[in-house]
Structure formats: C-alpha cells, structure tokens
C-alpha cells in the first residue's frame, strides 16, 4: 500500500484529501449547526460560473472560481437580509444562474473543455501541485479566522438575535461565515466536484455529531472522520479504478449508515444495562 506513494499524483491526492478534510471539518461543522446546508449548495453551484470563466479566459478555473463563489456568498447573504426575497428563493436563483453562466462561458470557449468532468464530479487523482498550494493557503485562512472568531461564530450559530443585542456585528460575521464556506468550496471542488461538495460539508459532521455534543470536539472529530473516509475513498477508487468523487461520497454515506447503527445499538444496550 505504501509503494503507491512513490507516484507524485498519489502523494498529491493524499495531501489533497487531508487539506479537504480540514476545510470541510471546520466549515462543515458550522454549516451543519447553523443549518446553512442549502445556502452552501447554492454557493457551490454559483461557483461553477467562475470555473466557466476560467476556461473562457484560459486561466486556472480554480482561481477564477474564488471571486465567483465569494461574490455569490455575499450576494446570497445580502439579498436574503436586505430585500423581501426569501433566502430560499435567493439561493435557488443564484444556484441556477451560476451554473448557466458557467455553461455559457464553456460554450463560448473554442474547442473541447478538458477536465470539465473533474470540476463537476471531482478527480482527486489528478490534482496538480499548483492547486495544492491554493488549497493550503485557503485552509490557513479558514483555520486562522475560526481560531480568532470561534466564540463569535458559536454565538452567531446558536442565537443570532442575542449576539446582535450584545453588540456583536452579526451581519458582517454571517457574511464572513458564508465567505469561509465559499473558500472551502474552492478547496473541495477539485476533490469531489461542484455537484458532490455538499456531501463533504454534511456527512463527516453528522457522523461526528453522534459521538460528541461539544462544538470544539465536533470540529476535530469531523476533520478526523473526513480524513479517514476520503483517504479510504481514494484508495478504493485507485484500486478498483472507479470515479473518485463518487466513491468518496459513497464511502462517507456508508460510514454514516454504520455510525448511526452503532449509535443505536449503543443507546439500546445502555437502556438495558
């Protein structure tokens, strides 16, 4: 098993798996407890517009996706709080419009769009080292921000109204949280793709939630479960030559199923003992 690490693509894949797990473990925890899963889905799909723009301009789509997902995160946040449009509808609109822009740009780009599939469904085995560098930088931004504003994000997630009264700039913090979601989407896109990102936000945290009810531990357990499961998914997809994004999501889903079962059995035996 170790010998496969002699390949550079495999070392990159392993690094990518770890970097992805850090981003989705931290941000996914807040996505789950603040119940902004659907918003995160909307930002993810809107980011596809940026990927299309990258193809059109002939630069790395990951780079153009960063401003696109940040803008759509702020867009959703502002539209839903400032206007009469419901957040739900705002998400739906941005979701589809982002995808449409992406498809339009790709259509306008002459010739065939290489690796388009990998941005849609992920391809952990083809992550170039240049993207690894981007992922490292984004991970550092996420870690530092959450370390610095942990108590604010915790309060915001639990009781936004009360946080507002105590004088915390909740609106700005909420937008910042959405921006962290946007940045972690960029980290995740390479590995599971636009369409499957939401699985990495939700499943590791949902698994971890069954074993702890402390927010800090939830973050750490989420990172751990995400690391173990994405590496397992990577291994499966390599040895059975299956699409990596889909395999990772299915490994996550299977692990969730098993963890729910364990939890149930444990509570049952607790009840009888």
């Amino acid at each position: 098993m170790i010998e496969i690490l002699q390949y550079e693509f495999m070392r990159n894949a392993l690094l990518a798996a770890i970097l992805v797990s850090i981003a989705c473990g931290i941000v996914g925890t807040f996505v789950v407890v603040k119940k902004i899963v659907f918003i995160s889905g909307g930002i993810t799909h809107a980011a596809f517009g940026g990927i299309g723009l990258g193809y059109f301009l002939g630069i790395n789509p990951i780079l153009t996706a960063i401003p696109f997902s940040l803008l759509s995160a702020i867009g959703i946040g502002v539209i839903s709080k400032r206007t009469k449009i419901s957040e739900d509808s705002a998400i739906g609109i941005l979701w589809a419009v982002g995808m449409a822009i992406g498809i339009l740009f790709i259509g306008l780009t002459p010739g065939y769009a290489p690796d388009l599939f990998s941005y849609l469904f992920g391809s952990i085995l083809t992550v170039p080292f240049s993207d690894i560098i981007i992922m490292i930088v984004l991970d550092i931004i996420i870690i530092v921000t959450v370390l610095f504003l942990y108590k604010e994000f915790q309060a915001l997630s639990f009781d936004e109204e009360f946080s507002e009264i105590t004088g915390v700039p909740t609106r700005a913090l909420y937008l910042l949280l959405l921006c962290l979601v946007a940045l972690s989407i960029i980290v995740l896109i390479r590995v599971v793709g636009v369409i499957l990102v939401i699985a990495l936000f939700t499943i590791p945290t949902t698994i971890a939630r069954q074993f702890t009810n402390k927010l800090k531990k939830l973050i750490i357990y989420s990172i751990l479960s995400a690391t173990i499961l994405t590496v397992a998914g990577l291994w499966f997809s390599y040895f059975f030559d299956l699409p990596s994004g889909a395999v990772i999501v299915l490994v996550l889903a299977f692990a969730f199923f098993v963890s729910a079962l364990i939890k149930r059995l444990r509570t049952k035996t607790d009840a009888f003992s």
Binding site: A155, F158, F162, I165, T166, G167, V168
Partner: protein, 254 residues
C-alpha cells in the same frame, strides 16, 4: 434621560406588511419600575420588546432608551427571548450559553476572562443552576432551560431587563423564587416583563400596560385591573394578592 425616564416610546406604529401590529402605542418606563405588559397572543407584546432592543424599527413614532437610540442603548439591556425558537440539539453547554451574555463586553476575537466566568457562575447561582454548568442545553427540561436563559440575561450586568414570557414553562414553586429574585434585582434595575398569562400579575409588579395592538391602559396595577377584562373582551378572573401598594401610576394613554 429626563426625570429618570429610561424607556420612552412615543406614538409607535408598526405593521408586518399590511397587518397592523401596534397602533399609537406610548409607554414610559422610569428607573426602578417593574412594568408588566399584558395582552393576548398576537397583541404586539414581543414586537414592543424588539423595538426597545432596536431589532426592528417602528413605521412611525420615536423610541428613546436611556435617552439614546435603541441600538446605542442595547449594551445596558438584558434580554430573555421566547424559548421555542431555539434548536436544542445544538452542541453547546450551559456555561457556553451563559457566557454569550458576556460576548459584547469583550472585543472581537478576545477570549472570555476569569471575571466573565465568575460573573456567569454567579448568574447561574442566582437561578440555582450552577451545578449543571457543564450539561448540554439539550439535556435540560423546559423550566431549567428558561432559568439558563435568565442567567444569560443577568450575565450582561443589565440596567434594564426585558423578559418575554419568563415563567412560561417553569414550575410554580420556582416561580415564587423567581419573582423574589426579580424583586431583589428591581432595587437596582428596571424590569419589563411581557406575559399573556394575567395570573402572573402578582404582588411584585407595580405597573401594567395592557396591549392588544393599541394600548388599553398604562399605569399602576391597582387602577388598571378592570381594564384588562375590557381588553380581553370577556370577564377575567384575576389572582391578586392584596398588599398595600402606593404606586401612583401616570396615564400616558388611555
């Protein structure tokens, strides 16, 4: 702040879309007042509190809190919201919830200090919950949760306490203790308590405001009792404890 008036609502109008919620409501609260806003559900009681907190702005009318705008005065207010809106599956301990009362006292990104922990422990002590400080919010009963949120409001060291249905789910034995606590606090701070349950208009409250979209009465409890029946549009039996009470409430609106 003129003549010790700390909350001054003048001719407030508010509507959600086309539905009028408040019409020409004026309320004054002085230092050391204990005011109970009573009225049926949907009568605009919570809306009044949110206007005082600056969470919503009235369509018409002026609001002064501590002689200032509500947003500027917020940091002096302790607030107990209604509790059905929370997600009790949230991974958070009692101590963490109460510490949120100290959130605004520290700058962004600063950790809570030892003093914060001390204040929160005292606040939990006041509601008899310090022994549960490490418990998860989801593991508490409704009444215990209410006490935790009261502790959080106290942890802000408020000069004005706004309580939205504070005894909705606590047992009657603790209600007594709770009112005694409020009476003790009332020596230092003003209190506004919102309730639809008129039986809680007990001995401890000296002023009432009867609110059902418009203000039916605002003044001392003694004179206002008969007005409550009028507002609810059916005879209401009031549980009042007969105690000497010399409050001479002023009428600002009738």
């Amino acid at each position: 702040m003129k003549n010790g008036v700390i909350v001054d609502l003048q001719h407030i109008f508010f509507s959600y879309g086309d539905v009028p919620v408040l019409e020409d409501v004026s309320i004054k609260l002085k230092q050391n007042d204990f005011l109970s806003i009573i009225g049926p559900n949907g009568g605009g009681k919570t809306t009044i509190l949110k206007i005082i907190l600056g969470l919503i702005e009235p369509d018409k009318g002026s609001v002064f809190v501590f002689g200032n705008s509500p947003k500027a005065a917020r940091k002096f207010i302790g607030y107990l919201p209604q509790l059905f809106t929370f997600d009790y599956d949230f991974p958070v301990s009692i101590m963490d919830v109460v510490l949120m009362g100290r959130l605004g006292k520290r700058g962004l990104g600063r950790s809570y200090t030892k003093e914060d922990y001390q204040i929160c422990l005292e606040a939990l002590g006041e509601v008899g919950m310090e022994y549960l400080k490490d418990t998860q919010i989801g593991d508490l009963s409704g009444g215990q949760r209410q006490r935790v949120f009261i502790a959080r409001a106290l942890a802000t060291n408020p000069k004005l306490l706004l309580l939205d249905e504070p005894v909705a789910s606590v047992d009657t034995r603790w209600q007594q203790t709770f009112y005694e606590l409020l009476q003790e606090l009332n020596k230092e701070i003003a209190i506004i308590m919102v309730t639809h349950d008129i039986s809680v208009v007990s001995t401890y409250i000296d002023k009432i405001a009867c609110l059902n979209r418009r203000l039916y009465y605002h003044g001392s409890k003694k004179e206002g009792m008969h007005k409550i029946s009028e507002m609810y549009e059916y005879p209401v039996q009031l549980i009042t404890h007969d105690t000497p009470h010399s409050s001479s409430g002023e009428r600002t609106n009738d």
